[in-house]
């Protein structure tokens, strides 16, 4: 190794100089163009979102202001000013808890297996591609599957058009999302941590449980909650499996018939009377508050676990 002496180095540089045309002003112009374009994209989406929110609140707020408590605790009714979304709210809570109970362990389990245990061969690749594709299948397809499988075929167990059937259908729908989210969270854990664990004589499970999970759990939880917030707004698959739109009783068990918030809203929107449209807007506000709360929880959990780590 010889160090080049500085004179030849300088000379080289000056002869190279002619090959460079910095053209700074031209490059900065492109900077401005792109910055403006991205700013416009952000601005446009924020404006659209704001218009949407304002119009919904504008339409629905009077109903909430006049009788907030009644709106939450009344059953549906033929008279718009007496109609509430109690059965839909309770149904949504039941369905979401059941969805979480099924989808969380299975989705996280599958994600852990694929990411940490499975060897890389054509079979796991095939499964991987399929799961990614399943995440993009239209939800109505899941509804048709749920109708055939849970409502008809497994009726003795699920009780037909029940909370259980609906929850299982939605669980299937969000399973791919949870699996993909779990895998991403696990992949973000640096491999050096796993190596450190293995080098200390830990088994694979000990490495995963003691070292990988604590780091990955905020990501896994965030992914799961975002998947659940997708499920909470789904209407089509539940209508397909035959959730009712008018229910004036509360579910007693998982085999009860049910309705959920988006179905109730859909039902109100399709009524001719203006009063029901106001109810629909008020229902949308409630649904959005629930959604925001779930997303807030996701962020809270992520921050909480990250601080501890």
């Amino acid at each position: 190794m010889t160090t080049p002496d500085s004179q030849t180095f300088n000379k080289d540089q000056s002869t190279q100089e002619q090959y460079f045309t910095p053209n700074l002003s031209g490059r900065y112009k492109w900077d401005t163009v792109f910055a403006s374009f991205t700013w416009l994209a952000v601005g446009l989406s924020v404006v659209i979102l704001a218009v949407l929110l304002i119009s919904v609140v504008w339409d629905g707020f009077p109903r909430l202001a006049s009788d907030f408590w009644g709106f939450l605790t009344n059953f549906p009714s033929r008279k718009p000013e007496q109609a509430g979304l109690l059965s839909a709210l309770v149904g949504t809570v039941w369905v979401m808890i059941t969805v979480a109970i099924f989808a969380f362990p299975i989705g996280v389990g599958a994600g852990v297996y694929l990411e940490e245990f499975a060897t890389d061969n054509w079979f796991t690749k095939l499964i991987e591609v399929n799961i990614n594709n399943l995440a993009g299948v239209p939800s109505i397809i899941y509804g048709l599957l749920g109708l055939q499988l849970f409502v008809r075929f497994l009726e003795p167990m699920t009780g037909g058009r029940s909370i259980l059937s609906g929850a299982l259908t939605l669980a299937l729908l969000i399973l791919p999302i949870i699996i993909v989210g779990t895998r991403e969270a696990l992949r973000a854990v640096p491999d050096s941590i796993r190596q450190a664990g293995f080098a200390l004589g830990a088994t694979r499970w000990q490495v995963i449980w003691d070292q990988v999970f604590p780091i990955a759990i905020p990501g896994i939880l965030t992914g799961t909650i975002l998947a659940l917030s997708r499920a909470i707004g789904e209407t089509a698959p539940l209508i397909t499996i035959g959730a009712l739109t008018f229910i004036s009783f509360l579910p007693e068990n998982l085999q009860s018939q049910f309705t959920v918030l988006p179905i109730q809203i859909y039902n109100w929107v399709s009524r001719p009377q203006a009063g029901f449209h106001t109810n629909a807007a008020a229902g949308i506000i409630i649904l959005m508050v629930v959604l925001l709360a779930m997303n807030g929880l996701a962020i809270f959990l992520r921050n909480k676990f990250q601080k501890r780590g």
Binding site: A196, L200, Q211
Partner: protein
Amino acid sequence: MTQVSSSTELVTEAVLRAQGVKVYYGTNLAVRDVTLDIPFNKVVAFIGPSGCGKSTILRCFNRMNDLVASARVEGKITFHGRDLYASNIDPVETRRRIGMVFQKPNPFPKSIFENIAFGARINGYKGDMNELVEDSLRRAALWDEVKDQLQESGLALSGGQQQRLCIARAIAIAPEVILMDEPCSALDPISTLKVEELIQELKQQYTIVIVTHNMQQASRVSDLTAFYNAEATEGGNKVGYLVEYDRTEVIFQNPTQQATQEYVSGRFG
């Protein structure tokens, strides 16, 4: 063309012995025909240009290569005379007895205490955990610096302290051999010196294999040095092989191979 000088004369008792070891990644041969003995309570340095398979051979000794799906080890490696790759040898148990320190400090994102307690706990340590943590940190020459912050994150330490924490973590589970893969390459000169002193200290109790790109380091800390080199094959791949293995003075002052001579004097390549 491989001339490995007979190492039997140097050896008191071989803890690890590699005989004709070849490692493949997929169908690519990465290192071939490595035969060497790692004697008891000695420091052995692995040196050689990048990509010649030093880390690969090192990982064979504690079966970390098992974790690389494409890796395949041929030949024989024995640990106290027993075939390390025999079906009745458990890699998890092997890794407790043959510890490893990595190039980049990789403490767990947990407290200093937990970093050390983890290995002990999973291996069913029955003794007093506080004592073990203190003892390991003392032997890693880190105790005085961290004794008041055992509950703080291991990541809050400086790079050099982190590396000593990793060494403390490795010795906490009482291994016989410690494999170190360029343990100082991410450290500043002062931390490097500390780790080197530590290695001298640890030599009393442990057998150490250290990979290093730092010639001074190899000559300072090691008793024996193995020089690896790589050659291109017809297929265009590079295959590593062991060129020369001898006492460190011999390798640095009077090597038998010209390539070794060139490499240790910095006139290589």
